[in-house]
């Protein structure tokens, strides 16, 4: 290269290496409970703001821990007709539904060979304590298929001790493939609309192929179904962190 002055070219130092710090990435994707994200609709955002204020009020008084579908929880509720006036139920969380104050979660357990599912409301004043006994995500977000799986996969010891969590590690994903009871099932879980990855299907190949007839491969490209919640989530996270620090 020839410079304009005839002198040798100015020394340009090499570009500095870019260091991606993995720890900061974890802090950015912190947990936001799914009932805070408002659904898509024509309701006024003021309604969601007021509901969120109530939810934050409740969370300040009563601690609702971070949990996902697949965790094993123990819930103590106030029961007027019990002798102790309280009831403790241990079970695996199979579904988290509802938005806002009416958010619910369903716990399943098999007690004395009888499958029991109880649907609790997160913000109900009757709930006195929620403890997370085992932290473990599963491959799906909806474990309703445990109703048709062998009962050993839904039994959890009622007096189970809480498994200690290592200091703020990532929540482990249990890649367990569950074995099912013989058909008929309550729902046709092999169909692609349920998109279940946590079942070990022991069905013959031609049945699995026949189930793919109901697949709708155009759904993932449908732009009208897209609901980008990233900006809404950021705003809500900021609001939450500000309010809870007060």
């Amino acid at each position: 290269r020839v410079s304009s002055d005839g002198k040798p070219p100015k020394f340009q130092p090499p570009p500095k290496p870019v260091i991606i710090d993995r720890k900061t990435r974890k802090e950015e994707t912190r947990f936001l409970s799914p009932e805070f994200i408002p659904p898509r609709g024509r309701t006024d955002s003021l309604k969601y703001y007021i509901e969120r204020k109530d939810m934050i009020q409740r969370r300040k008084v009563f601690n609702i821990p971070e949990f996902y579908v697949g965790h094993v929880l123990a819930v103590t509720t106030a029961e007027p007709r019990a002798s102790d006036k309280s009831k403790r139920f241990v079970g695996i969380c199979i579904q988290r539904g509802g938005k806002g104050l009416g958010a619910t979660f369903v716990l399943r357990n098999v007690i004395e060979d009888q499958g029991v599912e109880i649907c609790y409301e997160l913000y109900s004043p009757r709930i006195q304590a929620i403890e997370v006994l085992k932290l473990e995500k599963r491959l799906d977000e909806n474990l309703m298929y445990l109703r048709d799986a062998l009962p050993e996969y839904s039994t959890f010891d009622v007096n189970m001790k809480p498994v200690p969590r290592m200091a703020h590690e990532e929540i482990p994903v249990n890649k367990l493939q569950v074995r099912m009871k013989p058909k008929p099932w309550s729902k046709r879980w092999e169909r692609p609309k349920y998109n279940i990855k946590g079942i070990k299907f022991e069905l013959p190949e031609h049945k699995m192929k026949a189930a793919q007839k109901w697949s709708q491969p155009w759904l993932e490209f449908d732009m009208l179904r897209e609901y980008d919640t990233s900006k809404i989530e950021e705003k809500i996270r900021k609001e939450l962190s500000e309010e809870l620090e007060k």
């Binding site: 009020q57 409740r58 409301e121």
Partner: protein
């Protein structure tokens, strides 16, 4: 709609109603209106003045108020007359009061007799030829005519209906929101008329309401949220049965 819990742990569903820019527009005396009581014209939600001619803006100019989307009449006794131009707030109502809510129901368009009037229709099989949701017979032989008001297919919905005797659980004075028990006719974000209940069981329920209305520039300073006695407030710890 939102859930609300009482101190005994029972859940009730509640509708949120927002009092948005309500002003008193005109006072009509008993003789002028020709009714039994005097009337007050009240306007709701503010709306752009450009979509209506100037002649329609007279009422609003007299009161000194921007154009409102809806103008309704309230029958008022002589001691409850308010000067035109005063704003009305949600604090006009108090928790524990009972209220009637009127609104236009959701319009369903032209509907058949099964959906509109709840007729049972006919069976799906066993030889029915092209008759599954039809009204069937419309009158008897002796009558030799069809009576007036016979239930037949037609436009359903988009008419004014009232839900009576709804309890007011909570009032938010900062955002002017009334929490009313149960459901209310109309779609989300529709305009709604709220009045004190006319039911005889709730005649003596209003213990010292703000009369004639709640004035914002008065001496009273209300807290941001007014709760009914039985409501579980989220600042309290969880419910325990003794």
């Amino acid at each position: 709609m939102m859930p609300i819990w009482t101190k005994s742990g029972e859940k009730h569903a509640v509708t949120l109603l927002k009092v948005q820019d309500c002003h008193v527009l005109r006072y009509v005396s008993k003789e002028e209106s020709g009714g039994k009581t005097a009337k007050l014209l009240v306007g709701g939600k503010n709306v752009s003045p450009f979509s209506k001619p100037e002649s329609a803006h007279e009422i609003f100019k007299e009161a000194g108020v921007p154009r409102k989307q809806k103008v309704t009449t309230f029958n008022v006794t002589d001691d409850a007359i308010i000067k035109p131009g005063t704003p009305l707030y949600a604090a006009h109502f108090r928790p524990g009061q009972f209220v009637d809510v009127t609104a236009k129901t959701i319009g369903k368009g032209f509907q058949g007799v099964v959906k509109r009037w709840g007729f049972k229709g006919q069976p799906a099989s066993h030889g029915q030829t092209k008759t599954h949701r039809r009204p069937g017979a419309i009158s008897t032989n002796k009558a030799a005519k069809v009576y007036r008001g016979k239930k037949m297919p037609g436009k359903m919905g988009n008419i004014y209906r009232t839900s009576f005797g709804l309890k007011v659980w909570r009032i938010n004075t900062k955002h002017d929101i009334i929490y009313v028990n149960g459901s209310v006719p109309g779609h989300t974000n529709c305009l709604v008329k709220v009045r004190d209940s006319k039911l005889p069981t709730y005649k003596d329920c209003n213990k010292n309401p703000p009369f004639p209305t709640f004035f914002a520039d008065g001496d009273e300073e209300l807290p941001e949220d007014l709760f009914d006695e039985e409501i579980f407030q989220f600042t309290d710890p969880s419910v325990k049965f003794a």
